[in-house]
């Protein structure tokens, strides 16, 4: 009795809707969950690479990430749970992928980076790993609010020849099946992720590109303001869910 009452109290204390939110991990088969839980799963190769790259000097300055940020375990803890964030220099929101590319360019002097470059992805996996299990905590900076609102508009706007919005699948029909595929709630808790379908590690950007081409819509350009707006909205929609690493998806 007492335990039930305590549990009920905890459930009531959660933000509205938090009880019935499910991540892609929750939706996976026990076999795939076991694969994700295995620290030597296929995504681990990127993590190992990222850890090595963290202390490797790069660019014209010959400095490593560690030279400026010291131990990632301390300096990067919670960063992935908070991003996207505001970039003062561009006076615009930036996602973690973009932030790492910016550090390579601005602070290491390695020139403009390709967001999908394997080294950037490895560093992204390593930095994200430092937030393992932490709750997504949207950055409260009010300068992000207009972009987050734009993201919500994009999420609820019908797109493409199939004329479907993200919300029609991920809010209204999650749990249903599109042919064999279970429609997840679409939370960005596990990125970058190793998708068995891709046979490699990929970003949230790539995942969303897949959904957009699925409805025959024009994908967002890599790192575009619209993509980051959508990422901001997805992140606040998933607030409180835990960062998954090393994520696996079918």
């Amino acid at each position: 009795m007492i335990r039930a009452a305590v549990l009920a109290g905890i459930v009531l204390a959660l933000p509205a809707g938090a009880q019935d939110r499910r991540t892609g991990y929750d939706d996976m088969s026990p076999a795939l969950q076991a694969m994700q839980d295995d620290p030597m799963n296929p995504a681990a190769f990127w993590l190992i690479d990222g850890e090595a790259l963290w202390s490797e000097p790069a660019g014209t300055r010959g400095q490593s990430c560690a030279d400026c940020h010291d131990a990632a375990e301390d300096s990067m803890a919670g960063v992935a749970a908070r991003y996207p964030a505001w970039d003062e220099e561009q006076a615009a929101p930036v996602d973690l992928n973009g932030r790492i590319a910016l550090c390579r360019d601005r602070h290491q002097g390695a020139g403009p980076q390709d967001r999908a470059d394997p080294d950037i992805l490895a560093l992204l996996a390593y930095v994200t790993h430092q937030s393992r299990g932490m709750p997504l905590t949207p950055d409260p900076d009010p300068r992000l609010d207009p972009a987050r609102a734009r993201g919500e508009t994009l999420f609820t706007t019908r797109m493409g020849q199939l004329n479907l919005s993200c919300a029609q699948c991920h809010d209204d029909n999650s749990g249903g099946h599109l042919a064999a595929a279970l429609i997840p709630q679409g939370h960005p808790t596990g990125y970058p992720q190793y998708r068995l379908e891709w046979e490699t590690l990929g970003t949230l950007e790539r995942r969303i590109r897949g959904c957009l081409t699925g409805v025959r819509a024009e994908p967002f350009a890599p790192g575009s303001a619209d993509f980051i707006a959508l990422a901001l909205y997805l992140q606040s929609r998933a607030a409180g869910l835990q960062v998954e690493t090393l994520p696996i998806r079918p």
């Binding site: 019908r158 493409g160 020849q161 042919a179």
Partner: protein, 166 residues
Amino acid sequence: MRGRGMRRRCAKPLAAEKRRRGKVGLNPTLRATLAVLALSGTAAGADGLATPLTATPGDPARGAQIVTDPQHGLCTLCHAGPFPQVAFTGTLGPDLTGVGARRTLADLRQQIVDSRRANPDTIMPPYHSTEGLNRVGERWQGTTLMTAQEVEDVVAYLATLTGDTP
């Protein structure tokens, strides 16, 4: 009506008249045409599209191929039905078993051409309309999911689904 319009046209410079008509006024013939269109629009919502889109009657065998090909018709992404040859069917739309018995041809045609006429909030794609679409990918711009003949083929096939068992 016509007399008043004539008078005004004579009294005002042409450019001003064009502007006025562009904003509020419509000539009576155009107004009558629009009224007919609006009426047929309402009728389409309530009673479907009675007139076939093409002169060639729909071919149910070709329609069956389209409906059961998940890459072409996409129907089975959302609909189950009497399609034992399709390994995985979705759950987002109603089972199409018996749909030929419960819906008229006009209804079926309207549902395929543009299901938004019957239900503005539908998630079923408009198969033969580009109206009001947003952010369509470059390679699909200006095209529809199905040609008019394909719509007729699919409608002809759906009309054969009168049995009550999958």
